[in-house]
Amino acid sequence: MEVTRTPVNGGRAPQDLRVRQLRAQQMLRDESAGKDLDEYVEERLLFTKLETAQNWARKNCLFPLGFGLACCAIEMITVIGSPRNDLARFGAEAIRFTPRQADLLILSGRVSIKMAPIIRRLYDQMLEPKWVIAMGACSSTAGMFSNYAVVQGADKFLPVDIYVPGCPPRPEALIYGIMKLQDKIMGTPDMGWRERYNAYGTEEKPETAIAPEAELA
């Protein structure tokens, strides 16, 4: 692939820093006007919708939950934790070890029926908006574990946004999944999952939180 670089200032010759400084001072003293002012404003302002700006900010600061289930977890750790794969390039490397601060849950490994309520609880504790990636064959469909101990696909008990196939997926595959999730966040952040999963009532509301006086009593 050929890499092309686009200059930031639209192909004009890079201006001297001193010139720019002087212009800024003129601006502040209200001395520039007309074409100069128009150009200055054009260079520095960006118009967009508030939603788009919000989604752009969300997709570039994904906080994955530091949470592993089985062998895929090793692969997940190399993706979100190692400099070789460097997920910081996509703005998703800040791992949080409490669900209260995370907004991306990566289900890395098979989900046993004893673990399912715990995962559901972690998911409910995460702040909205929140997203889930089912990493690998096991958490997507139970993979080879067609038996009594493993939940047959994690989407039986929580909404899953992205399924990454593989056993385990290569780091590139997981990164691709995260990038797909970012596309999704940019487009339609929640895809109406509350309707699809009939999940009304699972929102964290102020009245359901522990009130301080209830704790004292």
Binding site: K114, F145, Y148, A149
Partner: protein, 172 residues
């Protein structure tokens, strides 16, 4: 492992100590010595072997087993080891599936605690005298004993092109 003669000597000593009905039989297969024991005398036999003249002082593991077409169905296996003589002996017992009860050996070997809980979890064998007989691996509210052979495998049918005809009009 004791050889075939040694196994018969052990069985003889147990019978002399605890009565003829304690040992149901012996088997010597592929250099492995097994003592078959009546389930109600199991605690006595293992207690005797633990402090016999040549003792088996370590219980390595407790297994469950389901011999489905045969009766009685469930088997519980105890693997004994003598650290001094580097010698192993297997003790087996069989119970029926309608009332699977075996005396617990936790008072003799404390390490049997989790092993017996696992056998209870997977096969539903109840160990009398166990201090804390709860499920070990499966959730507390799980129904059934999943390692029994008549337990359904679970899972979901997965469709491939070769078994497509088993699910007619799957695309609807």
């Amino acid at each position: 492992m004791p050889d075939a003669t040694g196994l018969e000597l052990i069985a003889q000593a147990v019978r002399a100590e605890l009565g003829d009905e304690a040992v149901v039989g012996t088997s010597f297969f592929r250099e492995q010595a097994t003592l078959q024991v009546a389930p109600e005398r199991l605690h006595d036999v293992i207690g005797y072997l633990r402090q016999a003249d040549e003792p088996w002082d370590t219980l390595m593991s407790v297994h469950g087993c389901d011999y489905l077409p045969e009766e009685p169905r469930l088997g519980i296996h105890y693997e004994l080891l003598s650290m001094e003589r580097v010698d192993r002996l297997r003790v087996k017992t069989r119970v029926g599936v309608d009332d699977p009860r075996v005396p617990s050996v936790v008072d003799l070997f404390a390490g049997a605690n989790f092993h017996e809980r696992e056998v209870f979890d997977m096969f539903g064998v109840e160990f009398d005298g166990h201090p804390d007989l709860r499920r070990l691996l499966m959730p507390e509210d799980y129904v059934g004993y999943p390692q029994r052979r008549d337990f359904p495998l679970g899972g979901e049918p997965v469709m491939f092109t070769f078994n497509e005809h088993k699910y007619p009009r799957w695309y609807d």
